[in-house]
C-alpha cells in the first residue's frame, strides 16, 4: 500500500511539472551542454548568445576559454543554427564551426544539436538553454 502511494505521488508530481513557454528570440540566453569527439570523451561547453535586432552575438565558455562568436545565423526555415567562433593558440588562429538545429522550440529548455569542427577535429554538439 505504501509503495502504491509513493508510486502514485511520484506519477502525479511528474505529470504536473510545469513546462515553461517560449520567450523572445530563440537563440538568446545561456546554453549548457557538451562537445567532443564522442559521448565518452566530451567536454562541457557554455554558450552565451544575444540578439540586438540585427545580429546574433555571443561567447563560448566565457571566463575560461573566452571564444567569441564571430558569425552566427539562424535560418527560421527548419530552425537551423550556424555559429563560427575564433580563438588562437601557439600554433595560430583556430576557427570553430558549429552547425545544428533547434529542437523543442516551444520550450524554455530547448536544445541545439548538431556537429562542430575545428583544429582538424570534429564531433557531436549538443547544448540546452538554461
Amino acid at each position: 500500500m505504501r509503495s502504491l502511494i509513493v508510486l502514485v505521488t511520484l506519477s502525479v508530481v511528474c505529470l504536473s511539472a510545469p513546462t515553461i513557454a517560449q520567450e523572445g528570440h530563440p537563440l538568446k540566453g545561456s546554453w549548457l551542454g557538451t562537445w567532443g569527439p564522442s559521448k565518452i570523451h566530451s567536454n562541457d561547453i557554455l554558450v552565451i548568445m544575444n540578439w540586438d535586432g540585427k545580429t546574433i552575438s555571443g561567447m563560448i565558455n566565457p571566463g575560461t576559454d573566452n571564444i567569441p562568436i564571430k558569425n552566427a545565423t539562424l535560418n527560421p526555415e527548419g530552425w537551423l543554427v550556424h555559429l563560427e567562433a575564433e580563438t588562437k593558440d601557439k600554433s595560430g588562429p583556430i576557427t570553430y564551426v558549429i552547425d545544428g538545429k533547434i529542437e523543442g522550440l516551444a520550450f524554455h529548455n530547448r536544445s541545439i544539436t548538431g556537429t562542430w569542427k575545428g583544429r582538424g577535429e570534429s564531433g557531436a554538439f549538443k547544448i540546452s538553454r538554461q
Partner: protein, 374 residues
Amino acid sequence: MKNLRTLLTCTGAVLLLASTTGIAHHALSAKFDDKKPTTLTGVVTLVDWRNPHVHVFLNVKDTKGEVLNWAVEIESPIDLETNGWNRDTLQPGDQVTVRGIRARNDSRQVWGNSIMLSASGRQVLKFTPKLPPEPLEKRPTPRWADSKQPRLGPIPGGVQGYWGYPTTTVLQEGGANVKMDQWGLLANIADAGKVAPMQPWALALYRNRQSRFLQDDPTYLNCKPPGGPRQFQLPYGVQFVEDRERQRVFVLIGGGNSNYRIIYLDGRTHAGQVGGDDDNPLYYGRSVGKWVGDVLEVDTRGFNEDFWFTNGGLPHTEQLRLVEKFSRPDFDTLKYEVTVEDTGAYTRPWSSGWTLHWVAGEELPRHLCQENRP
C-alpha cells in the same frame, strides 16, 4: 480496501487533469477540437469549483460496460456565476447528459457546451456570454473639477465600475483585418504575415505557436502576467486608480492574477529606470505618461521576454517599446491606441486600437490563475 478505492479514484481524477501538460485557462482550441463533437451520459462524481475553469467529473459506461471517469471542463466560476450557476448546481450522484467537444489528445476530457439533468430534462448549463452593458443615454466624460482632465477610474464614494468588453480581443496592425478567433488563433495560418510586420524569425515563431494551437501560452501555462496591450484584451477587464497626490495611475488587471501596473505622471523619464536597470526587466515594463489635452500618453519600455504580449502569440523582445494613448470620449467608452516599436522582432513600428466599455456599479472581478491547472 475502501480507502484504496478512494485513493485510486482521486488519483485518476488528478492524472486525468494532469495529462494535458498543464494548460490553464487556455484558448479552447489549445486543448479541445471543435471537429470532435461528443455526447456523454453519466453520473456526477465530483464538481471541482476552482479557477480558471470548473471541472465536472462523470462516471460514464462505455460500449463494453466498463465505467470510466471523464472530466468535463466548463467556464470559470466568475462566468458561471454571472449565468446563474453556483457550486451546488450539480451534485455528486446527479445523472446528466453533456454535449461538448473532445480533447485533441483523445484523453477522457470534454469541453462542455451544455449539461442536462437526465431526471428532469432541465438544461443546467447553457452558457450565454454576458454582453456589454448598453448605456441608456450617452453621458458626458467625467472630469476632475480643478484641471478639467478626464477621469479614467471610478470616483471614490461615487460611481463605481471598471473597464471591460474590449471591441476586439486580438492584436493586429490596424487595417489588417486578418480573421482569428477570440483567442488569436488564425483562421488561416497562411495569413500570419499579414498580422504585423514581423522579422523572419518572429514570423516563423508566430507560425509555430499558431500551429501548436497556442498551447504554450505562458499566461495560461504558468500564470505569467499579461503585459503590454494584452492587459486590455483579457476577460475580466481593467481598473484605473488615479492617485493624483502621488502623480501616478495604477492599472489593475482583472485577467492578470490580481497584479497591477503603475504609470508615473510626475515628470520622471526612463533614465535610471531602463538602461540603468537592465537586469530587472518587468512584465509590465516601466511606464511614464503625461496628459496632452484629453489624452493620456504613456511611454513604456523595459519589458522582459517571459510572456506573450498578445493573445495569439505575437513575439516580442526586450527592445519592445509601447506608446499608448488613453482617452475617454464619453462616460462609457475608453479609447485605447497603441504603437508597437520593437526593432528586435518587427521591421517597423505599427499601431492598433480599440475601445472598452464601462461596466457600471461593479467591482473588478476577482480572478486568480492557478498554475499548472487545466
